[in-house]
């Protein structure tokens, strides 16, 4: 089964609840090397997205993603707002008009999303940002479907890669974002944006368990 419009809505709902659950955790990560707002920002953004649910319930996947992106842009602020806003807007461009997504569609959407984030934030892998979680998640996902794995397996591997990417940020010295101001002191802490990216991708793996 490909990923349906309803599956996408279920994913968005799952993101909102996992970010609400992890609001304090993300904020604590951000307090250590940033300004203690990542959890509150993401939670505020996805709460606003949930308020938009009625108006996107019957829309195509592209419109859903674009609405999510626009809502994040106008409610999250900080670095997270434009980055996650762009991520969903770009995914929305790739899925415009679609009522369902194949494994390949998701590869393309995710690739566009990651490219959007990189274009906006100009971070490279190793800079200690969300890019460190998103980059391996995309490449592992693409590899898995190239191997012919079903979507839900590819997604699981992708989420696992995001988790590893997230953890790989711990020893890094930040070169981008607010953590870079700390210099050497940023090492030894997990990046909050990489963490929220893992939570978001893992929510997809959990929600689309039955997709292929």
């Amino acid at each position: 089964m490909p990923v349906s419009r309803d599956d996408v809505l279920a994913w968005i709902t799952a993101i909102a609840s996992v970010l609400a659950e992890n609001k304090n955790y993300l904020t604590e990560l951000d307090a250590a090397i940033g300004d203690a707002d990542h959890g509150a920002n993401m939670d505020r953004g996805f709460k606003a997205v949930m308020n938009k649910m009625p108006e996107i319930r019957d829309k195509d996947i592209g419109t859903i993603f674009k609405t999510v992106g626009m809502t994040l842009l106008s409610t999250v602020g900080g670095a997270g707002g434009p980055l996650y806003g762009t991520l969903f807007l770009q995914a929305g461009m790739k899925t415009a008009g679609k009522m369902e997504m194949t494994a390949q569609d998701w590869a393309e959407a995710l690739e566009a999303a990651l490219n959007g984030v990189v274009m906006r934030g100009k971070a490279e892998p190793g800079d200690k940002t969300m890019v460190d979680a998103l980059t391996p998640a995309l490449s592992v996902y693409k590899q898995a479907i190239a191997e012919g794995q079903p979507l839900h397996i590819a997604l699981q591997r992708s989420a696992e890669a995001a988790r590893q990417g997230m953890e790989s940020t711990i020893p890094l010295v930040a070169r981008k974002g607010r953590a870079s101001y700390l210099g050497e002191r940023s090492a030894g802490h997990q990046d909050p944006g990489a963490t929220s990216s893992y939570l978001i991708l893992n929510a997809a793996a959990q929600t689309w368990k039955n997709s292929a």
Binding site: D35, A40, G78, P82, G121, G177, Y181
Partner: protein, 333 residues
């Protein structure tokens, strides 16, 4: 958490309501999206100067809206850059046909949100220039990093650009004033205590009674180094040396010396800081011809200080002395 607030999620809205009640002669407050514009906006034929950033830095930026300084300010959530739609709406509200200058502090979030807003405004036919202030010498700069933070010089740049715009200089000329301020201003800050972001409810970092953070920004983030607490004079030396050695100053140059409180520091201490900063500047042969002393760019209730030096010339002196009438800075009118 000890604060004079109601619910954390209402802090920014209620603050803006307070500003609206208090300063209706000077500014108009717009809600959803949130922005503050000067009462007579848009001023036809004048370049409009806008800034914005997270809340929690009061009086910056909202307190600097008014004649001779900002045309608009966009407050984000506490310590969170405002969103592009806020900036776009504010840009449209103050555009008087002569273009709009965005004064941006160098933070990834601010840069990205302002860039998107500028793109959107340009798409609507408004001429927009953006200048990014990055004056914090505590941060090592390099091609591969986010660069230096924008701190104290921002306040001074807003005053100078506001005055230049009142003189009806062109957008390019007002932006040039801002770029010059960016080139000639340097800052560094320190914290005696952390601050508490309202929705977090506890201090961003723990700082023992006998320790301080040197090289902090304005978002309650830890600084570059944690050191044992020192005397005011020693602290001022630690802040002044990197500033003076970073700037291409030479003996005889004229400067503005800005001693800023982080929000929880009383004025009595700022004068003790100013005393030593003035003596160090003078020792280096710098002539302190103007100053600003007070809590103008803050981190909620953080105790601490930052020092900014800005090299002055005749044009900057005239722009600095020009009348300004805002809730947070006022003279000459």
């Amino acid at each position: 958490m000890k604060k004079l607030i109601n619910k954390p999620e209402d802090v920014v809205r209620e603050e803006l309501e307070g500003i609206a009640y208090a300063h209706s002669d000077l500014v108009k407050v717009h809600f959803d999206p949130n922005f503050i514009v000067r009462a007579d906006a848009p001023v036809q034929g004048k370049v409009a100067v806008i800034s914005g950033g997270g809340s929690g830095h009061e009086p910056m930026h909202g307190g600097f809206v008014g004649m001779g300084m900002l045309d608009a300010a966009c407050p984000g959530a506490v310590f969170t850059s405002p969103t592009p739609d806020q900036m776009l709406e504010a840009t449209k509200a103050v555009n008087g046909g002569a273009g709009v200058l965005h004064i941006v502090k160098n933070y990834t979030g601010d840069i990205m949100n302002f860039e998107m807003a500028a793109d959107l405004a340009r798409a609507e036919g408004i001429e927009v220039e953006a200048v990014v202030i990055d004056d914090d010498v505590a941060v090592k700069d390099s091609l591969y990093t986010a660069g230096r933070r924008g701190v104290g010089t921002t306040v001074l740049a807003e005053k100078l650009c506001g005055a230049a715009a009142e003189q009806r200089r062109s957008l390019k000329e007002v932006a040039d004033v801002c770029r010059k301020a960016k080139e000639l201003g340097r800052s560094m800050g320190m914290a005696l205590t952390s601050c508490t972001v309202p929705h977090v409810g506890k201090p961003t970092f723990d700082l023992p009674e006998d320790q301080m953070e040197i090289g902090i920004g304005i978002h309650g983030e830890p600084g570059r180094t944690r050191l044992p607490l020192k005397s005011a004079d020693e602290i001022v030396e630690m802040l002044m040396e990197p500033i003076v050695s970073d700037l291409p100053y030479k003996a005889g140059d004229e400067v503005l010396l800005f001693v800023n409180g982080m929000g929880g520091t009383p004025l009595i201490e700022l004068y003790i800081v100013y005393r030593k900063a003035y003596e160090i500047a003078t020792k280096h042969g710098l002539k302190v011809v103007r100053n600003l002393i007070g809590s103008y760019i803050t981190s909620l209730e953080m105790a601490g200080t930052s020092i900014t030096l800005l090299k002055m010339d005749d044009d900057f002196l005239k722009l600095w002395d020009a009348p300004v009438k805002t809730p947070g800075l006022r003279w000459g009118v």
